[in-house]
Symmetry: C3
Subunit: 337 residues, 3 copies
């Protein structure tokens, strides 16, 4: 399929990658940021993308005007091809030859070391550097799960390995119909998913479907991904970004504090024992119940109930409008506005 | 939809609510109790219902003749509308302004305080009172999950918020077909589910479907609830209670000790790590294996195997009858009885 | 259905069981072992089978040339009927009369005692012997979950109780079409699943379907089992073993270290809290990334990318072949081989 000319062209591109490096193009659309992931000609997710993603999540999380982020691929047919394999290979080669217990110790040490980022120049020269980077990327994805920002993956094309794991770390996924695929082929490289795939795909589509897919290394077609819940919608390629922005606007219209509290309760509490999970829920609930948004909307709800004689959620028009707007406003507040 | 006359009527009803208060009507049908939840004209779940539910669960759990409880709504078109929002709003307003760490501390303190119920008159005057009530309601629902009693929600109509959470805390759900809905709209009030919704719906229909439903605040129709497993059956409204009683009788016919052990293993063990869950199962299993029911039925099973030359579960008639009766009785014991 | 003659015949068979005892017939087919479970005329899973299974798993796990094991039943219409009920009944009768807290203590003691197998002759005479045996069987099934060997249940017929639990402990399940069934009828005996059923079925088909099935005690038909994910494939009876061997070969072709790491991450990490699960994944990932298989295949992948100008996983032929072979080999290594 590739001829000499192609090889030559891409070889040139490969050399350029070192200079180009990956980067994120951020387009500000008010409450929604549209982010194009440019991983170079091969559309790879490497250290540069990881670092810029960490900054972006931090910014979106802390800026109260940002409610949602849409990620899409800069490559015409790929969301993210997969991780930069050189990054994984060199990271793996650096790990000292230890058993599983030793590996767990390295992970723990990496976690501690990462808290003191001033040490970076030192750590960069040690065999722990790969483990530290891995730990940071996990932390970035976890911050996405903890955040009041709604993250939507606009899968304009294929996504394997870390590309798929990046999509699983989002809250919603829209995928382009066509000859594309999404999945975890790592087993075929003698490794395994390392960006959260064994955990997030398992919680997304269930233990057994996740196990079989990851053990086999065969990706899902868009139809299969939709059928098993690995993506939320499959639409024609030209509509992927527009639909993702629409979903981002819809879900992002909810109070940011509620979104954060719900995401933390479901992603974290929902993966704990039932009793521990309920403890997380109670804590998050009290946080929202005393919030300005919560108090204001509840008082409005009570007043509207008194005024109209009916609970607003049992007035069909009011409930439908609330779902559209992202919060329920009683008859009175509507008149006042 | 509401005109002046209606508003007047309901306003009157609203005033009466303070006197009426919510209550549970309990109908004793032998091994099955049928409980009508009367939350006043708006069908709200407030503190009175919560307290009476706690007593009811206690009674059903401790009375060996009670094997199942069916809950249904006294309102013609609603199971439970949702929580009494005044209760949530005032509870939230009382929470001291603290961060998540502080909220977790309040929850922990509430848990300790709740162990010494003699303190109630004191606690009632503190900002912790709301958190204590929340903690008690969680404990009531957890006791339902731990119990050998089979709880069936007969959803004669709609259920939102705490109404839905009450249904998720049951073991089985039958819902009326029609223009009804069930779900968690809390996000639209700037709050989030606080009665276990983020935990039990997540474990019932899976992490992602639960996340999307709770983030959006849009309820399920009966058909959608059935399709995603949020309810077990959808039947014509006039059949809801009869069908729920039928299921209550069927599942309640099983040995109460086995039902309790299975519920604890699945609800609690099933939400822990695999190794911890297996530890729960082993413990519960030994409890049933040495029980009078277990020993008697196993000895009977062995004798019947010897008498007939076939394992009773591999005699189709015997197995079908066992499923109907709730326990397997070999040929010999059938003749003797 | 059974007449005097049958009864006589089987009674004789029953007496023979004590002499025959259960055993495993192991057929060596290179990287795949085909194991026929012979539980005597009633096809029961008792202590002998448990002990031989433990040895087999140990052998398969430690022999680098063994990549998969297929289990099937020696009985013409049954995989494993269920546990030897005498074993359960006597084990239960031995448990001292204690509450749940006491049972938990017995389980813990059994776990400690089991570490010192030299004590067996002593323990055999104590009431703990049943608990120790239970603990060992759980440990055998857990070792199957931790192992780099792919275990496939070739369900040539029905499987109840421990027979079903043995199948849930495998990685894949192929079931014969026909008048067969698989499930957990223990509740009808006044006991509950004790071989992992409440935990593994719950994680396989979801909390609620598992709860209902185990509470009711009614088994799944092959079609139902397929529909809810309790088995992977249903094929004509004569094809069951061949198809299971095919799957064993396909999945067993993956690098054994990757298979083990993936199974541990999904089965164990996937049942923990999200953050704990990610910790397990990171540890397992580093183990594979520095492995010989991983380093060799990644270096080959990078070289092939340079040579062809395309990522091998984005060359359709290469990816399809990798799924067939179990590992991805770039153009260069293919030429060299």
């Amino acid at each position: 399929m590739t001829n000499q000319k192609d090889v030559g062209k891409v070889k040139l591109a490969n050399q350029e990658v070192d200079d180009l490096k990956g980067h994120l193009d951020i387009e500000d659309r008010g409450s929604v940021l549209v982010v194009r992931v440019d991983g170079g000609p091969h559309s790879l997710f490497g250290l540069d993308i990881a670092n810029q993603l960490d900054e972006l999540v931090d910014r979106a999380d802390n800026d109260p005007t940002v409610h949602a982020v849409v990620f899409t691929g800069a490559h015409p047919e790929r969301f993210v091809s997969h991780a930069d394999v050189r990054w994984l290979q060199e990271g793996g080669a650096e790990v000292p030859p230890v058993g599983p217990r030793g590996a767990a110790a390295i992970i723990r040490t990496a976690k501690s070391v990462d808290r003191i980022r001033a040490l970076d120049p030192v750590v960069r020269k040690t065999p722990l550097w790969g483990a530290v980077q891995l730990d940071r990327m996990h932390e970035t994805f976890l911050r996405m799960n903890r955040s009041g920002v709604v993250f939507v993956a606009a899968l304009n094309g294929s996504a394997l390995g870390l590309g798929a794991e990046f999509a699983w770390a989002c809250d919603l996924r829209v995928m382009a119909d066509g000859d594309f695929f999404i999945g975890q082929p790592e087993v075929l490289l003698g490794i395994m998913p390392g960006g959260g795939g064994t955990q997030r795909l398992t919680r997304l589509i269930g233990t057994h479907k996740s196990l079989v897919a990851i053990l086999e290394g065969k990706p899902f077609t868009p139809e299969q991904a939709l059928a098993n819940g690995a993506v939320d919608e499959v639409v024609p390629p030209k509509n992927v970004i527009a639909r993702a922005i629409e979903l981002a606007g819809h879900f992002g219209a909810r109070p940011k504090g509620s979104v954060a509290a719900i995401k933390r309760s479901v992603y974290f509490g929902g993966s704990m024992s039932l009793e521990e999970g309920l403890q997380v829920e109670r804590t998050e609930f009290l946080g929202t119940a005393k919030s300005q948004d919560g108090q204001g909307l509840m008082i409005d709800y009570l007043a509207s109930t008194d005024d109209t004689g009916e609970l607003p959620f049992y007035d069909p028009d009011t409930y439908v409008r609330a779902i559209e707007l992202g919060s329920v406003h009683g008859r009175r507040s509507r008149v006042n506005k």
